[in-house]
């Protein structure tokens, strides 16, 4: 078994309203940041997982994203996996 570090970024799918992102974007010009656009707010979920290899870890993480961490009707999950640094 190998331990892998996982970062899952859950984002609202394109076209899904993102009030937090829109509010942040609207607020920025009041601080003088005029060039910022396309603000989207998502969630970042970090954990470790023990798996035989990276592809097995990815398959398991994809499954748990689909079934729990993201709601596929309105959200996408972007998964990054790397081997954990041994302590």
């Amino acid at each position: 078994m190998t331990t892998f570090s996982v970062v899952v970024e859950v984002q609202l799918r394109e076209g899904v309203a993102d009030p937090q992102g829109a509010t942040i974007e609207r607020s920025l010009p009041t601080l003088g940041f005029d060039g910022v656009s396309g603000v989207r707010v998502g969630k970042c979920i970090r954990f470790t997982i023990d798996s035989a290899d990276e592809s097995a870890a990815r398959a398991e993480v994809d499954d748990l994203c689909r079934r729990f961490l993201a709601n596929p009707v309105i959200e996408d999950a972007d998964v990054r996996i790397e081997q954990a640094v041994q302590a």
Partner: protein, 229 residues
């Protein structure tokens, strides 16, 4: 014997007392069902009330589906038992896979707390069987994530099968096709964002929610799935 309605209580539910009061006012028997219990006991219908079950952690309704009581609710629904999810309860039922689609943030970027008009689009559901098709009801809404969405194929199915039970007259939140409430294919599981339990007494400004909860009591008493005949 009056119909017995079980009202689920999750950590973070906050409309369960209103729902019980409304059921009792209509002559039904209401009892609280703790989310950690694995059985519903002898109830004839289930209400999943509004609030913030499990603090809406991850997503509204996402954690609630792991509560032991939800397996019993799924079995009860599979056996044809009437189940109604109100507001957060609607979100819980979609996350649990008992209803299709999802509730996303309101289009207007605002939490909405107001009274809206909805039209009864179908009386073929456990929540509308005692209403009249086309009836306009004034019922409060109170939500941030009430913007119903689903895939095009699901929407086609909902329309073709007459499963959109309530529509907003003046869409407050961006819901696709003005949807305020839907039912499952067997018509015994209904989810809606408006709060009929808050429109059951003249003192609350409207009694229009009574016909909906009365329908649920009738369905509960009948002991069979409405609309299957």
């Amino acid at each position: 014997m009056s119909a017995s309605v079980g009202v689920l209580l999750f950590p973070g539910s906050n409309c369960e007392q209103d729902a019980m009061e409304a059921v009792r006012d209509l002559g039904g028997d209401a009892r609280l069902l703790w989310h950690g219990d694995a059985s519903l006991g002898a109830v004839d219908a289930v209400i999943v009330p509004g609030g913030f079950a499990h603090g809406d952690y991850l997503r509204p309704g996402a954690i609630a589906r792991f509560s032991p009581i939800m397996a019993a609710v799924a079995d009860f629904a599979a056996a044809g038992g009437p189940v109604v999810g109100i507001c957060n309860g609607f979100q819980v039922l979609t996350e649990a896979g008992l209803l299709p689609g999802a509730l996303q943030k309101n289009r207007g970027l605002k939490f909405l707390c107001t009274t809206v008009s909805v039209r009864v689009e179908s009386t073929r559901s456990v929540l509308t069987s005692d209403s009249e098709e086309g009836a306009i009801l004034r019922i409060p809404i109170n939500h941030f994530e009430g913007n119903y969405t689903c895939s095009q194929s699901t929407l086609d199915e909902l329309r073709a099968e007459d499963r959109i039970v309530l529509r907003y007259l003046d869409n407050p939140n961006g819901s696709v096709d003005d949807i305020a409430g839907i039912c499952n294919d067997r018509r015994n599981v209904v989810g809606l964002m408006p709060h009929p339990e808050r429109a059951c007494h003249a003192l609350l400004g409207s009694t229009d929610g009574r016909s909906l909860l009365q329908s649920l009591l009738v369905s509960a008493g009948a002991g069979t799935t409405v609309g299957s005949a």
